[in-house]
Symmetry: C2
Subunit: 436 residues, 2 copies
């Protein structure tokens, strides 16, 4: 039968797209290499339609991984995988394949899967053909299991585990579902379009076929409230007001990027903690706004701290009301977060909302309804230089005292060491896997 | 404590928003009425921030319900509910509340939940404050259970069930999961933003508290490929090429809107069939493009039928190749759909993609992998004038012969009679509930 897109001559459209690809590659040598490899075939693979507005492209290669300081896209698709191969050489092959594929994906180029044993070569699914690249970023992380699992150092990498990457303790209130928790490898794809993010994960997990299995996946969304505006979470409060300024490089070096204290492969990387926090929205929505504001320590509409008038006014922990009680309650969310920051415990949050349908739940207070409730809430995503001085001390206090815990339950997630960025000519984690 | 947004004087911003609301209401009398009711309170509820660009607003009131002919928004949130109250009067109260709330939601106005028994009045969650309205539409439907369930005519409405709204048979291959199937009431919220769609459903289901319980929910997404472009589904093929032209009013009257054959309450309404079709993407992606094109009967990249060169070229069912075999295979998707259309069986499709994480599955062919696969696919949403002459005959054939069935399994959904639009001064379904 006829298969026109295999046999038709190059079109003007394809030609122009090719130029775009080459222009983009000029400043990114490793991508040019990838292009050379693909054009070395006798029948060149058709290029993707021109869906790459330059502003839509966030380079994959660089000193740091993209998707950490990148202003949050509207959609995320997070995947945690368990490694099934026992061989480091296989892992290296996977990292090389992921590197090449990620560079192509972020440039909007099709990713074909090479033939493997009895399985024939597979084309790109083509579902993005004609679609904007949507600022796709792909951020990778290594879970604790890479450095040892069940008392066994599977890949001989145990001595490379960074000191700052300790196991997380059980926090009060945690209800972590094993099937939604942990993982040896992390892929977080973010884009201004859910299909683009899903496409990337779909391609990358195909490359892991036989080497690593999906453990859990989680999609999330964040609404765009306009330039410079802080988005609201599903509780209706602004979320991210107190985040450190990502354009302050010194601040990022201090709090987000691992420095000289870390092993070489991790310098310029960051440790991410992900928590799937289900919110009892049906209960939250039934409380008074005044109670909600006491819980957050901020005003709902403006986002101002209860001691201020507008969003970025200072949080005054010392202010008391006429009765001598603190204006910002002792167990309010903003007090606990702000005190942690004063103590030097800082996280760069890059969270998303989620809704995953509805399931049966029994309510916790009158009218004691039992029935279907939304499985919706927050995908907390927090980056830091050291979990021992950031997430753990902050969450130790919050999990005990935060009034918000009445409405929020952590039911899954994981933590991962996201290595330094991939420089041109390298592959992901090369300095880890090739160090004795 | 201070609750500034309850006590602060009206701001210029709020004032301007108020004007917008009134201007919009001027041409929609019933909304003006709703506004009057809310401003009659002593302390006026604060207006939403001005997030209503006029082009972002799709009116709720009208001859037909919105969200059917409306060009598809990028996100949907579908909810099916089971009615728990035995009283028609309660249902009417719910329909009135849903009508008023839907008109407000589509104008970006906050929806407060009135006090009810021991439960205090509840404010709007406020999570959309500052966000675009995103072309929100809310489409309601009535399931078979409204007209009788378990042999009992609960609400005395059995004799109003339209003849065209028959029960759906079991189709070959159906694997309908009861918890994901059916429902007495349907709310489909669509918007160019997932948070806006979810917000609407969240508010509407709160209003149903104690009267109807959520049975199943389903979110979906559709990428915007640009004006006039047919989107691609997760299989990578253009989806919607053969859809009837929604700007052809006569065609819509012929195939989509119930006419004089229907009871008064349904005239100008439409019957919707929803199917949650899980796609075995891992398998599909492993097949050759030439096989995929035989399956669809169309070229993957261009969307052209195998007998043509570009997307909208005619589907030539009679064309044979040199060997005398049909160019468009007998069991290809497009042949079955096109033949149905020639027979006068037409559906207006308004489908979405979904991905709901991953779960364990055992593969159906080599290499017989057992493990995690994406729970992703298509939310088929099809509107029609009569399910007896549209969905049923089309799907009878497709479920038996369509090559695509190797990759697609229907695991949930429902069908609903979406009544005529709500005219100003009416409430949803009034002509049904108030007819003897």
């Amino acid at each position: 039968m006829s298969a026109p897109n295999d046999t038709s001559p190059p079109t003007r459209r394809g030609f122009l797209t090719g130029l775009t690809g080459i222009a983009a590659a000029a400043s990114v040598p490793a991508i040019a290499r990838a292009n050379d490899a693909s054009t070395a075939h006798k029948t060149p693979e058709p290029m993707a339609a021109p869906r790459n507005a330059v502003s839509d492209i966030i380079p994959f290669y660089g000193r740091n991984q993209a998707g950490i300081l990148t202003p949050a896209q509207t959609n995320t698709y997070i995947t945690a995988l368990d490694i099934t191969t026992p061989k480091r050489a296989h892992l290296i092959k996977l990292m090389q394949a992921w590197t090449e594929a990620s560079a192509k994906l972020t440039l909007g180029q099709p990713v074909a899967i090479p033939a493997d044993g009895e399985v024939e070569a597979q084309p790109d699914p083509n579902d993005l053909d004609g679609l904007s690249l949507s600022r796709l970023t792909i951020t990778f992380g290594f879970g604790p299991g890479l450095f040892g699992k069940d008392g066994k150092d599977r890949f001989g990498l145990g001595h490379h585990r960074p000191e700052a990457f300790v196991d997380l303790p059980h926090f009060p209130g945690d209800q972590m579902i094993p099937a939604r928790t942990g993982g040896d490898l992390l892929i977080q794809a973010c884009a201004d379009n859910p299909q683009v993010a899903f496409h990337a994960v779909r391609q990358l997990t195909r490359l892991a076929y036989g080497l690593a299995d999906i453990r859990w996946v989680q999609s999330g969304f964040a609404s765009d409230y306009g330039p410079g505006k802080t988005p609201r979470n599903l509780m209706g409060f602004k979320d991210g007001t107190g985040n450190p300024n990502t354009s302050d490089a010194a601040l990022m070096d201090k709090h987000v990027w691992a420095g000289s204290e870390a092993p070489d492969w991790m310098q310029g990387g960051s440790y991410v903690v992900i928590r799937r926090a289900r919110i009892a929205l049906e209960h939250w929505d039934r409380t008074k706004v005044s109670f909600q504001e006491q819980t957050f320590g901020r005003q709902k509409k403006s986002g101002a701290p209860l001691t201020g008038k507008s969003e970025f006014d200072p949080v005054d922990l010392a202010a008391n009301d006429a009765d001598g009680n603190p204006v910002i309650p002792e167990n309010s969310h903003v007090r606990l977060a702000h005190q942690a920051a004063l103590d030097g415990n800082v996280i760069l949050r890059r969270s998303y909302s989620y809704n995953d349908g509805a399931n049966v739940i029994a309510e916790r207070w009158p009218p004691w309804k039992q029935g279907m409730e939304f499985d919706a809430g927050l995908i907390f995503v927090g980056y830091q230089r050291d979990v021992r001085t950031s997430f753990i001390p902050i969450f130790e206090k919050m999990s005990r005292f935060d009034m918000m815990n009445q409405f929020v339950t952590n039911v899954g997630g994981g933590h991962f060491a996201c290595p330094r960025g991939v420089e041109a000519g390298e592959y992901l984690g090369q300095r880890l896997f090739e160090t004795a």
